[in-house]
Amino acid sequence: MAEEVLRLEGIRKSYNVGTPVESEVLHGIDLVLQVGEFCALMGPSGCGKTTLLNVMGLLDRPSAGKLFIKGAETSGLGDRGLTALRGHSIGFVFQYHHLLPAFTAVENVMMPMLVDRGRPDAAMRRRANELLESMALTPWRDNLAINMSGGQQQRVAVARALAMDPSLLLADEPTGNLDTKAAQGVFDMMREVNRRHGTTVLVVTHNHALAAQCGRIVELVDGRIVSDRHLPAAAQAAVEHTEETSQRR
């Protein structure tokens, strides 16, 4: 049996607890992600995808339910423990607020390592440069965010999310603001990472063409998982093939 990266058991999340406008957004989510999976999370706007990602990424605590990271239960951890685990095990790619605007591309990629180790060193810079290289971003590595296209910025964000070599990469609509070609570029990078390093990826997307390239599609509606499908490898390959042929045309 494959190893688990993430296990959710009966996760509920309510906002504005104890106020008249208290509302439950997640109504008991059970989900397991195995090492090396590439999973798409789909669902209409407002169904709770971002909320779920924040809970999975230890940015937010669930109101009820259990969350295991690599088999370890997390509800007993304090802010310090969660922060450390988040820094070491989880990489985030956000939809809008991609990069730290005061820092260059390579500095952004170094940042998770810097935050972890306190001081910059040559090894960090080397790793950041390698990651940028693998994202085909070497020419832009000393650029600030404002001097890069949306697709480039989001690829830097992916490189940054991978800096600490996380077990789980959570991407919240990373391609939502990109044109089709740039979106496919960012997506390809994540798939490459998944294939090469076995990093588990969960990506929120509204794009069915992109979702079809994933090994698994989980669908969320109104805070409940309504479908969870594993796609056969053949189907993924077929999608890729049609894409390639369509691009050639």
Binding site: T50, G57, L59, R80, T83, Y96, A102, P112, A122, A161
Partner: protein
């Protein structure tokens, strides 16, 4: 990103550079505040030192006198019959057991010099000209440690053998005399002595320069009919502001009257104290204004940077790290402001000294450029920056990353 700088420094300096306009504005504000404090403190210190120097140039810190002769009101059954009591005429009297008092006071730890004096009113006569003056008979070896007359000599020397007299510069010009001239000193009884002017001194105030004449102790004793006696004892203390307390201690211990310069210049001392209080109040208020200014800038900065804070938290930055970034920003703003402010203050002091001058070309009054003032202001401004950053930094550290990122 330099390899030796920790994350907090890197983030703080980038954030400050990113909010350049805010950083520059607040540093300017802090600079002006620090500059004002430094200039004001220097001006005040200089002015006070100047005034006190003038006051104490011809006056001992503490003067011991024989206990005053008091006329007691007639009392019967505790009811005063004569409510208004005329003070008796205070004669030139010798102090009882003055050698013992000198020894006793001289041994006190808070006293640096003790000098006996025989003084009284006399007439200085030179041809047709006559002036009423005080003759101060002193033992030069002891007295020069109380009032450094040799430093104040403008002509001749501070020599006091039995034939010598040292007079103030204004008396010399009033009488039209100079070093080497003879001067006749007479007392009311008609007794007198003819002395040679050995030196002319500038005591720093017109009154003293017209009134004071210095002779050897035994010369004055003979003139004033105080053979073997002294009329007062001068005392020097290291801490001039403690003079009154020490005077009271001496009075209690010896039974003599002890007048400190603070008591004899009560009005002046009060004025100086009021100035010190005013200065402290202004300093405190400027410091408070600086603190609120820095806090305001940092609160805005935390709000503006909340997304960045959220991103940093998401990638594993701890609350402590975020806290330190903003504390550091506050400290840096305070320190930078105090550095520029010190330069500003020093510039103002130099400008004052070169632009505002007495007719004779000396500065109006010398300002004290105390390096300790600059160090203290740098430390204080940095601490103020740090302290004002506490609330904004806590706010930043406690931001919920989810809310921060969602915006």
């Amino acid at each position: 990103m330099h390899n030796w700088l920790p994350f907090e420094w890197i983030a703080a300096s980038r954030f400050l550079r990113e909010g350049r306009m805010q950083s520059i504005s607040i540093i300017l504000g802090v600079s002006i505040g620090v500059g004002v404090i430094i200039f004001m403190s220097a001006a005040l210190a200089g002015q006070q030192a100047n005034i006190i120097r003038r006051v104490l140039s011809a006056q001992a810190h503490i003067v011991l006198l024989p206990p005053q002769e008091i006329a007691r009101p007639l009392r019967e059954n505790d009811v005063a019959e004569a409510a208004i009591v005329q003070r008796p005429f205070q004669r030139v009297r010798s102090m009882d057991q003055w050698q013992k008092i000198i020894k006793e006071v001289g041994e006190m730890r808070v006293v640096t010099a003790v000098s006996p004096m025989a003084s009284g009113p006399v007439l200085a006569v030179r041809g047709e000209a006559t002036r009423a003056v005080s003759v101060l008979g002193v033992d030069p070896a002891l007295y020069f440690r109380v009032i450094p007359l040799p430093d104040k000599i403008v002509a001749g020397a501070a020599r006091l053998t039995s034939e010598d007299i040292v007079i103030g510069i204004d008396l010399a010009s009033d009488l039209g005399v100079t070093v080497g001239d003879k001067l006749r000193i007479t007392v009311a009884s008609g007794q007198g002595a003819t002395l040679t002017i050995s030196g002319i001194v500038d005591l720093g105030s017109k009154g003293a320069n017209q009134r004071n004449t210095y002779v050897a102790l035994h010369t004055a004793q003979a003139l004033l009919g105080l053979i073997g006696g002294v009329s007062s004892i001068d005392v020097t203390v290291p801490d001039i502001y403690a003079a009154e307390d020490i005077a009271q201690a001496i009075a209690a211990a010896t039974g003599v009257e002890a007048d400190s310069w603070i008591k004899t210049n009560a009005q002046l001392y009060l004025a100086i104290s009021a100035q010190v209080i005013a200065n402290s109040t202004i300093r405190f208020c400027v410091g408070l204004a600086i603190a609120f200014g820095i806090a305001a800038v940092l609160i805005v900065s935390v709000v503006q940077k909340s997304k960045e804070i959220g991103i940093l938290r998401a990638m594993g930055a701890s609350q402590g790290q975020i806290l330190r970034v903003f504390l550091l920003e506050g400290a840096v703003l305070g320190l930078a402001g105090s550095v520029f402010g010190s330069a500003l203050g020093a510039g103002a002091i130099l400008a004052w000294q070169t632009l505002l001058k007495n007719p004779d070309g000396t500065p109006l009054f010398p300002l004290e450029m105390d390096p300790r003032l600059f160090i203290a202001s740098a430390v204080l401004a940095t601490l103020t920056g740090l302290a004002s950053a506490v609330a904004p930094a806590l706010r930043g550290a406690r931001l919920d990353p989810v809310v921060a990122i969602r915006g």
